[in-house]
Assembly symmetry: C2
Homo-oligomer: 260 residues x 2
Amino acid sequence: MPALMIHPGRTRFSSNATDFQLGIASYSLRNYTLDKTIEITRRLGIPNLALKSMHMPLEMTDAEIKGVKKKINDAGLNLYGAGVIYMNTEEEVKNAFRYAQAADLKVIIGVPKYELIDMVEELVKSTGIKVAIHNHGPGDDVYPSPESVYEKVKNRDPRIGLCMDIGHTERIGLDPAAEAKKYFPRLLDVHLKDVDKSTAEGDTVEIGRGVINIPAFLKVLKDRNYEGIVSFEYEKDPDDILPGLSESIGYARGVIAALQ
Amino acid sequence: MPALMIHPGRTRFSSNATDFQLGIASYSLRNYTLDKTIEITRRLGIPNLALKSMHMPLEMTDAEIKGVKKKINDAGLNLYGAGVIYMNTEEEVKNAFRYAQAADLKVIIGVPKYELIDMVEELVKSTGIKVAIHNHGPGDDVYPSPESVYEKVKNRDPRIGLCMDIGHTERIGLDPAAEAKKYFPRLLDVHLKDVDKSTAEGDTVEIGRGVINIPAFLKVLKDRNYEGIVSFEYEKDPDDILPGLSESIGYARGVIAALQ
């Protein structure tokens, strides 16, 4: 396949090379095959993918995982992460790192049982693979907020940090921009989305149609030279995702262009 | 049908009520029926429509035109204009104003033969309907650039002005933002799009993926309190328009939000 032209309009306004990159969290495409996920990601001009288990099952052998990685690379895309991966037993922790090593991932977006975090830290140190713990908002007893993650990892290896889901952050009544500032040193990955209410009842909507102040959030990342990836996790319209995901991606790109 | 919720995220950052509104130029949906055009416009949360003749034929009787108008109003949308309408004979000029009166349009986006402009001006005065002359870029002998329109209307009734097509403006090697500043007093309508080259060979692409500096252009409209409508005219993928049109609309909304 030809090399991707990744929205050249954006780089036109760019004064430096430190802009963060965009990705897609493939949970968005949970009702689509891996092949279709790759096709849509390419069409949208997004360079990076983080796969959820329906697109790369956790039970796959190393050889099967390497096959998925090759297919994605051959399409001109970068498989940088996977998740959300739940790790509730030692076996699940070991398997998550085996899986991540086989796919040569930079980051596991994960939810480790808190009692297993020493083991997770050891494996982060021995493999060099980061673990970004995902905050799930109201109803998550262990990691509801960015702070709840930060407090549990702040004295650990810096490669254990936060995948900040801004939808769940807003749903728990917090401002994603302010939270990103507070916990920036441990911000390793982002799930970008929008929700229609700042309460537990908030549902995901097209980015820009909800209540999250997206320009303020992205400005924090830009001003601090965030070096991670910002991945779209679009949960609405799971069987007809292209219009809403396209609108969401367009919105974020427009904000980024206007912030230059 | 329920009242439309027009991207409430935007108004959150809005400090005043002077923001311009968004619309769709239905030439974008030339391969879709009127019903489908209405459905897509609603899904995208766009409040305003300007119809091209495939959706409201110029030969329609007044009663038929009023039927189209009612259908659009009943869907919660505003039929504000029509075009591009070519007016090469006196009969075509008369019919364009009859059609626009029947639909109670605010503006005709038109290309009147220059020899007929006295007659057009008379009808603008007698009906109160504006005429926004559309620049078509390289290859258009009469109205290639915003300036070529402006020079022909600057001493006429202020309700004859420009529908600035920023794609054709870029294709003729001009900067849409600079042109919008120069001819702002006669800017009555806008066709928003992006193109991949600043030459006659430029093709339309998703907004944000091309070469036009969209934030700079929209900033001119915002800073000068543009009171017209900015309509998307998306010409790529005519049989599969939703992803690219959605991305384009998202991009413009993102820019507008970030400019607040």
